[in-house]
């Protein structure tokens, strides 16, 4: 009798602790609604995780802690080192990598459940079989897809969209093969060999799905893989009949979907187009647009630019991926502070897809000690450009291309942009006249009120700061 009570009380305590953990995750995410409470929210989330893992150690199925501790120590050290040393500019790769690891872990746990069934250790049911296949599918696709995204962002492979003949047909056939094999495996007797084949095919699918996606579309891919990593965890929760996995997975799945949706809207493209459109595979020839014919750009020296900035009342900085590439966030802040000392009103305009992941620019500028109340979202800053003396575009391109507003033939027509061309003066800092990642020429550069400041963003900003001090 006592033994029986003991047997039911422990799982109950563990389940109750899981409920606490799930609640902490939700409150933690809720506190991310403001920068003031966000940090404490993250701590709550981490606490929830600690509770969940700690109570799991009391699970009766566990016979030895040796291997658990080995895994925890190894993973904990690697995670801590990664988190401490990663550069803020490399955050997209980091999140990609973590997504992939989470997906792989979910697939491994679900896969082990299949092996147990194959070895006769447990009986299985249809719902478990279905969710095992789903978990392995989503988890492995998340893993291999994330590894490709990581390699692209880290520039281990080309960032451009990789295309080849019959690409979609091959992907579709592979997808069909996976579904067929999965459906066959669900009611069938255990077949570890076929199951392994299933997993390998899923891994290949993940690779093939991400290679045709170009560098500029990475924010969408990272957000989508983020969602997948959550779905994979939830599917594993179905396999293990574990609610905390289901709830947490669903939260992350929802979060990733919302971000994916925001990114797609900000580029005025459907998710299908982003995933299968192979945008930016071949660059459009510079000057191909009729509007550019016979027009030339006007450049400006750092000294003249400094004078222009020094005597203006309001300046808006528009950072893009070029800023991240040249690690120029600290130099922008230095320039901005010099201007503020002169009484110039300084703001920063952040396009939702600036950078290589959602919110990337905000993190970089925060790292450079730019107060977050100076960072403006697109909707809030756009009406202000008209009243602004100088807009300074630093390494951004497609997100400030006015063609998106009026040129129906432009590939980016309809994409919401920052209306920098409406400012009294525009200074564009750019390495060269090469087109941006979408491979489109930018008519902004040819406008009468636009001046180009060529060179690496950081070098140009350093020169500007020096020149401004001399004014």
């Amino acid at each position: 009798m006592i033994a029986q009570t003991e047997g039911t009380v422990l799982p109950l305590i563990i389940d109750a602790a899981y409920l606490v953990a799930a609640t902490l995750f939700i409150i933690g995410l809720k506190r991310l609604s403001s920068p003031k409470t966000a940090r404490s929210g993250n701590v709550l989330g981490a606490t929830g995780m600690l509770i969940a893992v700690a109570v799991t150690l009391f699970d009766r199925e566990i016979l030895s802690f040796t291997w658990i501790i080995a895994g925890l120590v190894l993973g904990g050290l690697a995670g801590a080192i990664l988190a401490r040393t990663v550069k803020m500019t490399a955050m997209p790769q980091m999140v990609g990598l973590l997504n992939g690891f989470g997906g792989a872990a979910s697939a491994l746990v679900a896969g082990d459940e299949y092996l147990r069934f194959a070895s006769g250790a447990t009986a299985t049911t249809a719902d478990v079989q279905i969710t095992i296949m789903l978990s392995v599918l989503v988890g492995t696709v998340t893993f291999s897809g994330s590894m490709v995204a990581f390699a692209k962002l880290q520039e281990l492979v080309t960032g451009r969209a990789v295309t080849y003949p019959l690409q979609k047909t091959i992907n579709a056939l592979l997808g069909l093969a996976i579904v067929a094999l999965g459906v066959y495996l669900i009611p069938a007797d255990p077949a570890p060999g076929l199951f392994a084949t299933f997993a390998v095919l899923c891994l290949v699918l993940g690779v093939l799905l991400v290679i045709p996606i170009g560098g500029a579309d990475m924010p969408v891919v990272i957000a989508l893989l983020n969602s997948y990593s959550g779905i994979a965890a939830a599917a594993t929760g179905f396999v293990l009949h574990n609610n905390v996995l289901i709830i947490s997975g669903a939260l992350v799945g929802a979060s990733g979907l919302i971000l994916t949706n925001i990114m797609c809207r900000a580029m005025n493209r459907s998710l299908t187009n982003v995933l299968f459109g192979a945008f930016g595979a071949t660059p459009v020839a510079v000057g191909a647009g009729a509007a550019m014919d016979g027009r030339t750009v006007k450049d400006i020296s750092p000294e003249d630019a400094a004078i222009l900035l020094a005597y203006s009342r309001s300046v808006i900085f528009v950072p893009g991926y070029g800023l991240a590439v040249s690690q120029a966030q600290h130099n922008v802040r230095e320039l901005a502070e010099l201007l503020e000392q002169r009484g110039v009103d300084v703001k920063y305009a952040i396009h939702p897809v600036a950078g290589r992941m959602p919110g990337h620019m905000n993190v970089l500028l925060a790292e450079a000690n730019v107060p977050y109340d100076k960072l403006y979202e697109m909707e809030r800053i756009n009406p202000e450009f008209e009243r602004t003396d100088v807009a300074v575009v630093i390494g951004a391109n497609d997100v400030v291309n006015p063609a998106a507003r009026h040129d129906r033939n432009s590939p980016i027509y309809g994409m919401p942009i920052l209306d920098v061309d409406r400012a009294q003066n525009v200074i564009v800092m750019k390495r060269s006249m090469n087109p941006g990642f979408a491979g489109i020429d930018n008519e902004l550069f040819y406008h009468d009120n636009t001046r180009m400041l060529f060179g690496d963003a950081r070098e140009s900003l350093t020169k500007l700061v020096a020149a401004l001090k001399a004014v």
């Binding site: 799930a22 939700i26 609604s33 920068p35 993250n42 989330g45 995780m49 969940a52 150690l57 699970d59 199925e61 802690f65 658990i68 895994g71 993973g75 690697a78 990664l82 988190a83 401490r84 955050m91 980091m94 999140v95 973590l98 997504n99 690891f101 989470g102 792989a104 872990a105 979910s106 491994l108 092996l115 070895s119 719902d127 990593s229 959550g230 965890a233 939830a234 594993t236 293990l240 009949h241 574990n242 609610n243 905390v244 996995l245 709830i247 947490s248 997975g249 669903a250 939260l251 992350v252 799945g253 929802a254 919302i258 925001i262 919110g359 990337h360 925060a366 000690n369 107060p371 977050y372």
Partner: protein, 100 residues
């Protein structure tokens, strides 16, 4: 029949949690989207709970190898995710007083 019923209850939990997720996450401002991704990413490492059991139940050598790999990967996800999120969030500061 019973298994379908438990599947349905699990689906209830999943769907309701999705709605909670949508409600909560739509309120996260754009400037915090990167920490949101890394932080929610860390939460998806909850699969660690399942991995710990696989690594500890000594079912078979293969199973234990799978378990250890899953524990290590999920722990990188969890520890790396929460730590890097904290590192980012501590950088977000309001403008210092003195100016206006």
């Amino acid at each position: 029949m019973l298994e379908l019923q438990s599947l349905l209850i699990a689906l209830y939990v999943f769907v309701l949690a999705m709605f909670v997720g949508f409600e909560v996450i739509t309120k996260v401002p754009q400037i915090l989207h990167t920490p949101l991704m890394s932080g929610s990413n860390a939460i998806s490492g909850i699969t660690l709970v399942g991995a710990v059991i696989v690594a500890g139940r000594l079912e078979s050598p293969l199973s234990t190898v799978i378990g250890v790999a899953a524990v290590a990967l999920a722990t990188i996800n969890v520890v790396g995710g929460f730590m890097v999120t904290d590192r980012m969030l501590q950088m977000f500061k309001k403008r210092q007083d003195g100016g206006q």
